[in-house]
Symmetry: C2
Subunit: 208 residues, 2 copies
């Protein structure tokens, strides 16, 4: 049995969706970030980074969204969540997922977690970071819309983990001051994702 | 034949090392960032992100370090650069590589590329970011030293792409105001990397 740790509003939604679509048996445990449950000694033994997602397997704990997404796809191949038998196409999936992780998520984090990179008491610097988030998020989604998104799914004909990850970060646009309707293909992708019962089920858990 | 685009001082060193250790035939092309060669229309056709590394293969272009590292390991399996036959161990490699990409590299980038996340004319905000880099880099390398690094290599007994990536980012510590000697296992890892002729050859190219 896999145990999956998540918190609402975080990128853990992507891996949670992958688990749900994989058909694997898993237990999902919710952490309350407002109560700092990700900082308890008990959780820090699971993930010393004090972050989500974390996936406890029989062989140990896995963290970092791109690693989890590929692991879930490889461990449950019957669900066909990534092109695991083709190194080039798998690299295209990882290229996309890595861009979301290291550029798009990082852009977004400058709104609410700027204290990671400046003195938390430096209000002017925190404000300067927040101010640019609509621009950096719009630039990233322009690149996704115009260059990276193949259609009808992220990587082309086959639905998979990159779709779950893109959907997770697309949900952040509104709060980041960017109208998703500026990106018609991404907006259409969001609608198709939200029509799926698996997505509705997991999103409801993250919103409850 | 693979064509690899890199620039000195960048994270492209990690993928360059992986290519060298893979035994694959490849041609390396150097871009001069001071002359903005990553922004030419010609290069933007290869990588619309205007960044390195980029690897041109017969089937298309690949970018993003974690994606390239796994691709090179999978495409040239005889070099045994990653645990590609074990989804859990491969996920541990990707977990490590993703942490370097999305957290450690991002910490470092706040020294010289803070303009990505604030108005480039906001000198006070840029200075605020620079000031914290020694702290964030030291925190990341403390986690690597104490929790993530298994020894003798990053993932344990087997040398591979995670070692090349760690070495690449370890080289940034001095310029980021952090003494690598604070992290004895990382410092020893650097010494062992630098004793390898393949590393000496590629580092010389990046320094020339």
């Amino acid at each position: 049995m896999l145990t999956f740790y998540y918190a609402p509003g975080t990128c853990a939604l992507a891996s949670h969706l992958a688990l749900e679509f994989s058909g694997a048996p898993y237990e999902a445990k919710r952490l309350d970030f407002k109560q700092q449950q990700q900082r308890t000694p008990e959780y820090l033994k699971i993930n010393p980074k004090g972050r989500v997602p974390a996936l406890v397997t029989e062989r140990g704990v896995l963290t970092e969204t791109p690693a989890l997404l590929q692991y879930i796809a490889q461990a449950f191949p019957q669900a066909a969540l990534a092109p695991i038998d083709d190194p080039f196409l798998l690299a295209k999936a990882n290229e996309f997922n890595s861009y979301l992780c290291s550029t798009v998520h990082v852009n977004h984090a400058h709104k609410g977690r700027g204290y990671r990179w400046v003195d938390p008491d430096d209000g002017a610097a925190l404000d300067a970071m927040k101010k640019k988030v609509p621009q950096t998020m719009a630039e990233s989604f322009t690149l996704i819309e115009e260059q990276m998104f193949k259609g009808p799914w992220v990587l082309g004909e086959k639905f998979g983990t990159s779709d779950m990850y893109l959907y997770t970060l697309s949900r952040w646009l509104e709060g980041d001051g960017v109208d998703v309707q500026r990106f018609p293909r991404v907006a259409d992708h969001m609608r198709r994702m939200e029509a799926m019962p698996q997505v509705q089920k997991i999103v409801a858990l993250h919103q409850a």
